[in-house]
Symmetry: C2
Subunit: 270 residues, 2 copies
């Protein structure tokens, strides 16, 4: 963490009674900021708004968050900025107080170095043993209850494997550990429905909107991975990353994935 604002004040600490710490009672966003301009700002704000609505947390004004994102990243050409919103109020117990407001934690981080290489060469993945729980009340939003991802992320330390693919309890493909997943099949894009678990990524949403006629959200049984012509994962920071293997199944980095990468690099990402 390079710079951090807590409720607009320079600080690297939060209250020990913060409800994000106590219960994971909050949401987060992870943004790319280039020369002070956050990418996909409105998409991030829209998702944060949906999360706040779902959890009954008061969403701060977007202009305030934007100013804080720019403040923490001002010294950096390229930065990753994390916004954490937690519900305010500090009394012990699950039940939130009414009108508790929220706490804003906005921090800047170094931009990862391995992105270009992964974008070019792709990554190998394995299917995690952990199965995501099915919870429609929390599905799709980027909340702070991420123990499943933490546990899953410890499963793929093996040589050369840098990604884990997550299935739900019914063996549907849901996502990578910290990215969404797309399959290319017969020149069409398939991506899992995320109404019961997973996070609706902002780049995923952008792809769905831009390629709506060639893209389908559906339940994807794990067996379908074997029939895919191409597989890629994507998130707001890493862009579109080809998957070259999932366990023993190999994939070519195909023309559809390369076309989407080109589309993204040619300006669609702003």
């Amino acid at each position: 963490m390079l710079e951090c604002l807590v409720n607009g004040e320079i600080s690297t600490v939060v209250s020990a009674s913060n409800r994000g710490l106590g219960y994971g009672d909050g949401l987060f966003e992870t943004l790319v900021v280039h020369n002070g301009m956050p990418r996909r700002w409105q998409a991030h704000m829209d998702r944060l708004g949906v999360g706040c609505e779902r959890l009954g947390i008061a969403m701060p004004p977007q202009a305030l968050l934007l100013r804080e994102v720019q403040t923490v990243s001002t010294a950096l050409v390229d930065a990753v900025v994390k916004i954490v919103l937690t519900r305010g109020g500090s009394a012990r117990g699950y039940r939130p107080s009414q009108d508790a407001g929220c706490i804003r934690i906005v921090s800047a981080h170094v931009f990862p170095l391995d992105i270009d290489e992964n974008t070019a060469r792709g990554v190998k993945a394995r299917i995690c043993d952990l199965r995501l729980a099915i919870q429609p009340a929390l599905g799709g939003i980027k909340h702070l209850n991420r123990l499943e991802q933490v546990v899953a992320s410890t499963e793929f330390f093996a040589e050369g494997v840098s990604e884990g693919i997550l299935l739900d309890q019914e063996d549907h493909v849901i996502s990578a550990v910290s990215a969404n997943i797309f399959l290319v099949l017969d020149d069409r894009l398939l991506t899992p429905r995320l109404d019961r678990c997973g996070v609706r990524g902002v780049l995923r949403s952008q792809l769905l909107a831009a390629f709506s006629t060639r893209c389908e959200q559906r339940r994807i049984q794990v067996d379908l991975l074997q029939e895919a012509d191409e597989v890629f994962i994507c998130n707001a920071v890493r862009g579109i990353v080809p998957v070259t293997a999932i366990d023993s199944q190999r994939y070519e980095i195909g023309p559809f994935t390369r076309k989407l990468q080109h589309w993204l690099q040619s300006g669609a990402s702003v």
Copy 2:
């Protein structure tokens, strides 16, 4: 929060990059402390140890935790003390660093005032709309991912209803929002299995051990609530609390519940 120690130092704040805040990557215990003596200490430590083992978090020495519990509660005859352990390490990203250690947050809180009244008169409950997700990897341990309980706790603001009963996605009874549940049926105790969700409470464990020949852990379909002779909920702070209604179903406060309350008050709770 009255007094608080973070890693043994007097403090009311934690790092904004704490993994408990970021991901709920940690565990907690809520203890009753009377005149400096924590009740059911070993049971709390045993559960914390199981949770640490499951999540791969380094458990601090029990003697260190005991000293910190006693330090924060030293000015109080009766206190509730909360121990939060989060995984150490602060780099952004789900994957924990190896040998990250852990952060200890030990805080004292006022003892609730409504316990005796609830113990005597019982409480009314409703069945929450939210259904707990089924996640065997996290079932039973008292981890920090508690958004389900937060959401469920907003569901029973209605007049006179002070408890929510939680079912899982398959409509099995699991627990109250912050307590375990027991049914008395034909002079036997039934309590839900908590291998797929819920928290194995220390008082629940104590009851199971003390009344093993008359007690059964099993899957309990919601319909069975209608056949119960008595229902009570329990946790380490509140003891054994009779349930007098679940939605439109009424219950007498029966002899089995009173007998267990008496057993508890006569010294079994130390």
